[in-house]
Subunit: 152 residues, 2 copies
Amino acid sequence: MKDLAGSPGTITGLVLRLFQCLFAAGSIASMASTNSFFNFTAFSYLIASMGLQVIWSFGLAFLDACALVKKKALHNRVLVSIFVVGDWVTATLSLAAASSSAGITILYFNDLGGCGFGQECQKYQLAVALAFMSWATIGISSLIMFWTLAAG
Amino acid sequence: MKDLAGSPGTITGLVLRLFQCLFAAGSIASMASTNSFFNFTAFSYLIASMGLQVIWSFGLAFLDACALVKKKALHNRVLVSIFVVGDWVTATLSLAAASSSAGITILYFNDLGGCGFGQECQKYQLAVALAFMSWATIGISSLIMFWTLAAG
C-alpha cells in the first residue's frame, strides 16, 4: 500500500482525525447547551451521531499517534478494511444528522418566518454548521481510506 | 480495469441506473402532487435533487445500454473518473435532500404530535422513502465506480 497523505499513521491523517473530533465535540456542546433540543428527534439524533463520531475519530487519532511515535506503519489490509467500513458508516450518519437538523433549522428560520426560541437559535445554527464541517473532514478521510484499500 | 458487477457497460450497472431513475422519479411525482411542498425549503430541495438524479442516472443508463448493444467496454479511465465524480456529487446531494426532508417529516409526525396536512402527509412520507431508496442504489453504484477507478 502506498503512503498516501491522510492515510492511517501519517501526520495529515492525525490532523484530519483531530479536526473531526473537534468539530463534532463543538457541535455536541453547542446543541446540548440548549434547553429544548430533546423536543426535536433530529437534534437528538445529531447529538447521538456526533457522539459516535467523536468516539470513532478519537480512537483512530490515538492509533495514528501511536503509529507515528513508534514509527510503525498501519497498512495492514484487514485493519484498513475495518477503518474504511467505520469511516463510511460514521460519514453517512454524520451527513444524515447534519442534513436533517439543517432541514429543521431552515424550516424555523425561513419557512415559518423567523425562529422563536431566542438565544437558542444561534446555538442550533452553530451546531449544524459544525456538524457539516465534521462531515466534510470525515468525508475526506473516508475517501482517502477507500482509495488506500482499493489501490493497495 | 476489471469487469466488476455494476461497473459501466454491464447489465447489473444498467439495472442499478434504472432503479435510481425509477425511485427518484417516484419521489418527485409523490412530492410534486402535494399542494404545499413549496412552503418547505427542504421539500423543494428534494425535488431539485431528485430531478438531477433522474437526469444523471438516465444519461448513464442510456450509455450503459448503448455499450451493451454495441458490446463495447466503457472502461476508459477518463470516462470512469467523470462517472465517479458525478456519482459522488449526486449521491451526497440525494442523501442530504432525503435526510432534511425526513427531518421535517419526523418533526411533523412525531415531535409536533401528528401531521395536520391530511392526505398530503402520506405523500410526504412516500417521497422521503423513495428518495432514500434512490440514494441506496446510487450509493452502491458510486462505491463500485470508485473501486473500479482505484483498482483499475
